[in-house]
């Protein structure tokens, strides 16, 4: 019996389509508890590969016969070994090609809507890590917002669409993932914008992104709205008066955390003002497009992550805390653990360190943790 590979793209499709899947995750228990493939119709069994070296007989009874089985490990080596052992016992499984590293890097482009004069807006869903990037395409021009380090995906996508990337924006200096913004700008000659208040320690040239700034992308317009709180520079974008990219300030089912640059107490007031004043002044009809999702429930049926601002004001707990002290306590106390290697990720995004690709992968392993609920 042969062992099949399943790609991260195939697994992403299954997750978005809510198809049944059984995951035999053979990483060690801590790694599994920290971060795994999430999905509404996934069943799990976690047994480290090193507990299976004497044989897989014990596991077979615990595997279902009526759904596909996917063996998962960190890089793929151990999952191939276990899948081979299962095949020898007559159990058909697939392994995740490239392991959790490939899962962490997979981007699924999803169209979220139309722009002026036939333009299109795409969301790139990094399903394994919960990062969301955007590309607005209008005519032969494109703008990219909050790109991840898998820059080829963005460059190839723009090329397929026949568009030249003109503007590359980062809503803030990211702490949970390495930005691809600078690299995309270098490859295309586009302008790379960063909020200056986040960029004081940045060691490369960039164009300051100030609130009120407007950029034309074909027939479309991208406006910058200063909305500090996750970081002191955090900036939102309004595209064609229809879409609001909120960065890490507002998510679908949670709000941004103010502590990843070390200043929770200082920035909590800014966060409150951004959410309770600046966003309140905007049209309820704007479609909110955040830079992250935390749980699979935040995905719409088509795999996109978007919701009307008016709905979020009704449903998002973080937007409905009247008492200012209660709000303060929520976003400064009992915060979730900080993302893996977040200090080195910030330094990388400032250009202070330039880790090799393999190191960058390692730094990004694990879930994003940019929100408080």
């Amino acid at each position: 019996m042969s062992v099949k590979a399943m790609t991260a793209a195939q697994v992403a499709r299954k997750v978005i389509d809510n198809e049944p899947l059984f995951i035999l995750d053979v990483r060690n228990g801590d790694a599994f508890a920290d971060w795994k493939i999430e999905g509404g119709n996934i069943q799990y069994l976690n047994i480290p590969y090193f507990d299976l070296l004497d044989g897989v007989e014990e596991v077979i009874d615990q595997l279902p016969k009526d759904r596909d089985i996917l063996v998962v490990c960190a890089k793929e080596g151990s999952s191939i070994m276990v899948a081979d052992m299962l095949a020898d016992e007559g159990v058909e499984t697939a392994y995740l090609s490239g392991g959790m590293k490939a899962w962490s890097e997979h981007l699924e482009p999803v169209k979220v809507g139309d722009l002026n004069d036939g333009g299109e807006l795409y969301q790139f869903v990094r399903i394994g890590k919960g990062c969301l990037s955007y590309m607005a395409i209008s005519g032969v021009e494109a703008a990219v917002i909050d790109a991840t380090r898998m820059t080829d995906v963005f460059l190839n996508f723009a090329q397929e669409k026949g568009a030249q990337i003109k503007h590359v924006f980062d809503s803030h200096l990211h702490a949970d993932h390495i930005s691809g913004g600078r690299k995309i700008a270098q490859a295309t000659g586009a302008t790379y914008y960063l909020p200056p208040a986040d960029a004081e320690e940045v060691v490369f040239e960039y164009t300051p992104l100030e609130g009120g700034f407007e950029a034309a992308v074909g027939s479309s317009k991208v406006e910058a709205l200063y909305s500090p709180g996750h970081t002191i520079g955090s900036t939102s974008f309004i595209v064609d008066n229809q879409y609001l990219m909120t960065g890490d300030i507002l998510f679908i089912d949670s709000i941004g955390r103010p502590d990843l640059a070390g200043l929770a107490e200082d920035w909590v007031g800014d966060l409150r003002e951004s959410l309770y004043s600046r966003y309140q002044a905007l049209a309820n009809e704007l479609s909110v497009l955040p830079a992250h999702f935390m749980i699979m429930d935040e995905l719409n049926e088509d795999g996109s992550v978007a919701k009307k601002l008016g709905d979020l004001f009704k449903e998002n707990h973080g937007l409905n805390i009247e008492d200012e002290q209660e709000f303060r306590d929520m976003v400064t106390k009992n915060l979730p653990p900080q993302p893996n290697a977040y200090e080195d990720i910030r330094k990388t995004n400032m250009g202070k360190i330039t880790p090799e690709n393999e190191m960058q992968r390692e730094m990004e392993i694990g879930p994003n943790r940019c929100a408080v609920r």
């Binding site: 060690n28 790694a31 590969y49 090193f50 070296l53 890089k75 080596g77 151990s78």
Partner: protein
């Protein structure tokens, strides 16, 4: 740190560092110490978890350039 035996698992990808460690350990006596040298970054968490689940003791670990070194006492 002194070791009774040294295992060179440099350049090997997961699962081989653990497979080899386990094999070496089988031929050793309880209380003896095995030094393992590996370059696979995953070896750190996996050897720690493996030693614990097998009743062995991870005495020490060090980083020497690209090489991760572990000393495990057989339980």
């Amino acid at each position: 740190m002194n070791a009774d035996k040294v295992l060179d698992a440099k350049g090997l990808a997961c699962p081989m560092p653990i497979v080899k460690t386990r094999k070496e350990m089988k031929d050793m006596d309880s209380g003896q110490v095995l030094e393992i040298q590996a370059t696979d970054k995953g070896a750190s968490a996996d050897l720690t978890a493996w030693a614990k689940s097998g009743g062995h003791e991870l005495l020490e670990q060090q980083v020497d350039g690209d090489v991760l070194k572990f000393w495990i006492k057989k339980g």
